[in-house]
């Protein structure tokens, strides 16, 4: 370990916290989640309503739960169950990635002024 190593560590800590700050400042509470399977949108979920959903991933079922404007994966078919361990997300930068299942859950905020969105 020399002085340069410490400078490197400080720079990395600084960058990390700047990024965290940036995400925190630009994060918005969101009202809608988009569920993608293999890059294709398969489901839009209303986050204002508590409910349970099930989608099919590459390896099998992925169970999704919405509670208090937050969304999480409750169980999935995979070896490590990483995406159910991730817990709830609710803000616009947050993403749940179920790698082996190719399922991605993103949170977005669309204007509350619409009753329904067509795509």
């Amino acid at each position: 370990m020399n002085k340069n190593d410490w400078i490197l560590i400080i720079i990395i800590i600084f960058i990390s916290f700047s990024l965290l700050l940036f995400f925190k400042l630009t994060n918005q509470e969101s009202n809608q989640a988009l569920v993608y399977n293999d890059n294709k949108l398969i489901l839009t979920i209303d986050l204002t309503k508590d409910d349970k959903y099930q989608v099919m991933g590459l390896n099998g079922e992925v169970d999704i739960e919405v509670k208090n404007n937050q969304i999480r994966v409750t169980s999935e078919t995979s070896n490590y169950h990483l995406c159910s361990k991730q817990g709830y997300i609710s803000k616009s930068w947050e993403t749940i990635v179920c790698l082996p299942n190719k399922i991605i859950i993103r949170v977005t905020s669309l204007d509350q002024n619409y009753d329904v969105i067509l795509r």
Binding site: L41, Y114, R119
Partner: protein, 318 residues
């Protein structure tokens, strides 16, 4: 005493007030959300279970991959040359409507593309015309319908009702809700078609249309009631070969996704019409599409590479 009277009236009011009831279903490979605004919870629950039964039945009837009694899978497998096959009456009616639309759209809307879409779905590389052509017959003219019997001139036609089934079922549900006297509802099928009644609190529903080029931006807002709206396009539904995206809407004449528009939205009271025409209009040049729209009295928004084109009547929904 005064307090008790006010309380009583308040109770009476809330008792009669409409509430939002919501139900999620998954049938025909689609997530369906039904919202009904009504004061009678029992009636709504009954309605939900009836609607689910309708979806379930048609889900089985239109299933291409699994056998149920006299359903589409059965039909596709049993189709043999010059032999009459009996199928479920409900499936027969649906096929009849599909064939009518086939003729009404100058054969642009075809349910006989099963063989070709299978190639598009399963191929690892971009299929050639020869490959597509070799996959089997795609000629709906080969199929004849007569009094609950199907008769085919060609044994290898593979029927696929994916382009009409949702609209057809929504039409049945629309009539069902009308009979029950339920007026305030919103049914979302997948991300691309809705059936709406009256709004539960505002004057009209506000429907946002997503820009096919910028998938999070809304390019148009429609304000309307008691209608069906379907969008067909390439945003969420495409085949991909070496990074290149190909629309899932196949031209029955070229067997390729020769699309004139990126996205077409059709508005009409009849959900079958909106479902069928939105798909068809993607394949037609705008001028021809306009004629078709006029003929069937539907309102259309075309989103093309060169801009947005609308029929006259869209103004009424702005």
């Amino acid at each position: 005493m005064k307090k008790i009277i006010t309380l009583f009236f308040l109770l009476l009011l809330t008792g009669c007030q409409d509430q939002v009831f919501s139900k999620d279903l998954f049938y025909m490979n689609t997530y369906i959300n039904i919202k009904i605004y009504h004061h009678d919870q029992e009636l709504v629950n009954k309605t939900f279970s009836d609607i689910e039964q309708i979806y379930q039945k048609y889900d089985q009837l239109c299933d291409r991959y699994k056998k149920h009694e006299y359903n589409l899978y059965y039909l596709n497998n049993e189709l043999e040359k010059n032999q009459e096959i009996e199928i479920d009456k409900r499936l027969y009616d649906l096929l009849k409507v599909s064939k009518d639309y086939y003729l009404k759209t100058n054969k642009f809307f075809s349910i006989a593309l099963g063989n070709v879409t299978d190639v598009w779905t399963n191929n690892k590389e971009l299929p050639s015309y020869e490959e597509l052509k070799a996959s089997g017959s795609t000629d709906l003219d080969d199929i004849m319908l007569k009094e609950n019997y199907i008769f085919s001139k060609n044994s290898d036609v593979s029927l696929d009702l994916g382009g009409i089934a949702k609209g057809y079922v929504n039409n049945i549900i629309k009539e069902y809700l009308h009979d029950k006297g339920i007026k305030k509802y919103l049914i979302t099928s997948g991300t691309s078609s809705i059936l709406i009644g009256e709004h539960y609190q505002n004057e009209k529903y506000r429907v946002g249309l997503i820009n096919p080029l910028e998938s999070e931006k809304i390019y148009k807002v429609l304000k309307l009631n008691t209608n069906s709206i379907s969008t067909s396009g390439t945003i969420d539904n495409y085949y991909e070969f070496s990074g290149e995206k190909y629309s899932h809407i196949i031209n029955p004449f070229t067997l390729y996704p020769d699309n004139y528009s990126l996205s077409v939205t059709v508005i009409a009271p009849d959900p079958i019409l909106t479902e069928v025409l939105s798909t068809t209009l993607v394949l037609l040049p705008i001028e021809e599409g306009k004629k078709l729209a006029e003929k069937y009295d539907v309102e259309v928004i075309w989103f093309t590479k060169d801009g947005i084109i609308e029929t006259e009547g869209i103004k009424n929904y702005e």
